[in-house]
Symmetry: C3
Subunit: 207 residues, 3 copies
Amino acid sequence: MTAVPPATLPPLVEIAATALFALSGALLAARLKQTFVTASFFALVTGVGGGTVRDALLNVPAFWLNDMWIAPAILATALLAWFTPHRWWEGRLLEWADAAGLASFTVLGTTKALALGVAPVPAAILGVVTGCAGGIIRDVVAGVPSIIMRPEIYVTAAALTAGLVVLLAALSVPSALAWIVAGMAGFALRGAAMIWNIQLPAYSRGN
Amino acid sequence: MTAVPPATLPPLVEIAATALFALSGALLAARLKQTFVTASFFALVTGVGGGTVRDALLNVPAFWLNDMWIAPAILATALLAWFTPHRWWEGRLLEWADAAGLASFTVLGTTKALALGVAPVPAAILGVVTGCAGGIIRDVVAGVPSIIMRPEIYVTAAALTAGLVVLLAALSVPSALAWIVAGMAGFALRGAAMIWNIQLPAYSRGN
Amino acid sequence: MTAVPPATLPPLVEIAATALFALSGALLAARLKQTFVTASFFALVTGVGGGTVRDALLNVPAFWLNDMWIAPAILATALLAWFTPHRWWEGRLLEWADAAGLASFTVLGTTKALALGVAPVPAAILGVVTGCAGGIIRDVVAGVPSIIMRPEIYVTAAALTAGLVVLLAALSVPSALAWIVAGMAGFALRGAAMIWNIQLPAYSRGN
C-alpha cells in the first residue's frame, strides 16, 4: 500500500466535515450539561474520530496531526455551540450536523482508501466505517444509545454514498462531480429518513 | 519489527474466524430488531474488529483491506442470519459462534504477533486482546453488557489458547498441530464454562 | 513524520504510569466482583489503553509490544489489587490512581508526539487524548459512566498538563524539569477538584 498521489479531496473539505461532526459532539455535550472543556473534547473526538479510525486502518498517521487548521476548527465549533443562543440548537440540529458529517466522511474515507490502492469493495466498506465511527464514538463515550441503533435509515445512507463513490469512479466520472453526487445522495437519504421517519424493515421474529 | 515471512495461518482460517464472529454480530442485531443493513454492519465490526485492533497495534494495514473474500463472507453471514428460520438461532448459538471466534482470533493474533517478531509474552497478550476485542466492540456499540463481564470463564479461555500457542511454538511443535490444539483447548474451556456454568472465584469483599 | 531521537522520557516512567492506570482498572474490576483474570484484563486495557491509542494515531507499533517490563508490571498490579486487604482500596483510591495515570500519560503522549515531529498544538491535543483514553476505555468496557462525564474537572487537568509541556518546551526549559512541573500541575488540579469538588460551570440552558 504505497502512497500514490491520485484524486484526493482538497483539505478544506476534510476541515469542514470535521467541523460538522464536531458541532454534533459539542451540542450533545451541552445537552448533557457538560463544561466547555468537556464539550471541546467531545467536539474533538467526534470531529476527528471517523477519520482517525480510517487512518489507523490504512496504517497512516492520523490526518489531524499534520494539519494546522483542524484544532482551530474544533475550538471555533465548540465556541459556536457554547455561546450562541440556545434556541438555535433546539430541535434536530444535532442530527442534521451528524448527517452532513456522515455523508462527508464517507466520501473522504472511500476516496482516501481508493487513493491508497485499496480495492473498490473494501474501500467502500472503509468509507462506511469512516462515516459511522465518529458518531458511534461520540455516543459510546457519552453513554447514550448509539445513533446506528436508531430505527431510521443511517448505515444505509453511508452505504449509498460509499457505493456511489466507487461506482462513479469506475465509470470515470470526474472526481469532483462524483464526490458531490455521492455525498448529496447519502445526505438526502438520511435527511429524508429523519423528516419522514423512513425505516427499513426490522428483523421480526416470525420471519 | 520487520515483516519476516514465518509460520502464518492460511487465509482461509482468518476468513472462517471472521465469519464466525460476524455471525454472532448479525444474530445480536437481529435480536435487537435492527434492519438488515445494520445487521451487516454489526457482522462487519464484530467479524473484523479483533483482527483490526491487532493490526493497528502491530502497525500494519487492516487485514481485510487487501482480502477480496472478507466482504463476501460478511455479507453471506448476514444473509444467513437474516433469512434462515428463527428457531435455528434460539438458545445460545450466538455464544457458541462467539466462542469459536474467540479461540480462532486468539490463535490468529498470537501467531501474527510472533510472526512479526514480537516476544512471546506480549505476543500472547496481543492474542488475548485480539480474541476479546471483536466481542467487546460488538457489545459496546450495541449498548449491551460486555461479554467479558459475564460471570463464566471468558478471558481465561483466550489466555489458555494464547499461552498454548507460545508454549507449543517454544517447544517446536509443528505449527498446524499447535494451532489446532491451542484453539480447541480454549474453545473447549469456554464451551464447558457455558454448558456447566463454570466460573472462577469472583472478588469478594472480605478477602 | 520520521523518528528523530530527541528528548524522550526514560522507559521507567512509562512503566510506572502504566501501573498506576492498571491499578485503577484492577480496582474497578474488583469492585464489580469480577474474577482475577478479568481484573488483569482490565488492568491491561486501562494501563496500556491511552498509550496504545497514541501510538496508533502516531502510526508506530504499540509501545508495550517491545517492552519486557509492561506485562510483569500489569500482572503485579493486578495481584496487588487482588490480594491486599480490601480496606486499603476503600474511598477514592481508584480516582487517585486514575489522576496520577492521567497526568503521567498526558506528559508521555505530548512528549512522544513532539519527539516525532508533530506541531505543538496537535501534540498537546494528542497528549490530552492519550491521558483520557485509558480511563474512557476502562469505563466503556465496564459499562459504567465515563470518567470524563463527571462534574469535577478532568479533561481540563489533562489540558493544563499538555499545555505546560509544549509551553515549557518552547521556552527551552530543561525537559526533565518541564515534565515534572507539567505533570504535577495537572495532578494537583485534578486532586484539588476531587478534594474540594471543584467544577467548571456547566452548560446551562438559558445561556
